[in-house]
């Protein structure tokens, strides 16, 4: 099934719609679909932000003023 998809994508690329062949962050990508209220899809990256495990123990800043009215 994967091969068929790849072949179809190749043909679409040959027709000049090369962006369809480019994987947008995804190995098997078919262009990057951004749904209406969705976010830009992101690839998983190891430790890009050097997560501090204590992060969740810190008080989380929420604008309580906004929440309360």
């Amino acid at each position: 099934m994967k091969t068929k998809k790849r072949f179809l994508r190749f043909l679409i690329g040959v027709l000049g719609f090369s962006s369809m062949m480019v994987s947008c962050n995804k190995e098997d990508g078919d262009g990057d679909i951004r749904v209406m209220y969705g976010v830009a899809p992101a690839e998983y990256k190891e430790n890009i932000h050097q997560i501090d495990p204590a992060a969740t123990e810190q008080p989380l800043i929420v604008n309580d003023e906004e929440q309360s009215h």
Partner: protein, 362 residues
Amino acid sequence: MKNKATKIGLRKKIALDLFAKYYQQKVKEHPLDTLFWECTLRCNLACKHCGSDCRKESLFKDMPAEDFLRVIDSLTPHVDPHKVMIVVSGGEPLMRKDLEYVGLELYKRGYPWGMVTNGMALDRARFDSLLRAGLHSITVSLDGFAEQHNAFRGNPQSFDRAWNAIQMISKEEDLVYDVVTCVNQHNFGDLERMKRFLIDGGVKYWRIFTIFPSGRAAEDPTMFLNHEQTVELLEFIKKTREEKEIYLTFACEGFLGGYEAEVRDHFYYCGAGVNVAGIRIDGAISGCTSIRARYDQGNIYKDDFWEVWDKRFEMYRNREWTRKDACKDCKVFKYCLGGGMHLRDENQNMKECLYLTLTEKK
């Protein structure tokens, strides 16, 4: 009226036919790669054009984090977590104080995660906290300059807060982001100026969508573009993409005829139930949180998520039921399959078709 939408050249037609076959393969595989979580319906704003039914105090309680994480744990053996993007949506996700906790748990399990926000509560401290929880991607809404944005959002500070948030995120290396704008009668005339403003402000990624009759927006006709404006909007997107100063794309709002692959990177398809799933505030398992009609396929409090994803979703994966009314004899049905699921109402009738607006067949 004749415009680019009405005419699809031969080369594009062949490519679209191939893509339709490609899509069928994708349906067979239905590889889940985007999972929405409607984590709260509370919101700190009350936007005129909001497609969801949020209130400052929602009738629904936020879903407990543990309930959602239980679903994630049941999903993990069936997928490669690195390839399933979890999108936290709402309501306003920042209303939840445990968002970072959930984010970090997702990160530990190997899932990239992102969120959509109005930016109101996104100050430096909160942003740093989210980054530490492994935030991969973020979308901030900006619906024009201060006057319009604040009017839509019903809050005099909303523009400044959103813009501050955008400035902050656009400087963050390794974070995928975009600014999303709902284009309507009020901000339509400002698009060029807005483009300049974003470029000058260092923004590189911008996404536009038009409004559809849903939620609060349904009652206000000034929220919708007419035929001429829709054509002009697509021309604007096309031109901006050619200029390459900012990456601009149009959301998945239906088939666009000759504009296909010119205002987005890919051909139109509705990924709901094909590669996109959503978990709603009450636990309902659906195709995409933009769908407001109850096309639920199960509920996390009763069913196994993966069972539902793998075995149900028939109405999402076979769209023959949409072949009625205007779609019945539509000559582009094979490419469009009756449009996005979010554009269908409770009775499965079509609420809006951009292609018909573009070709003025309605």
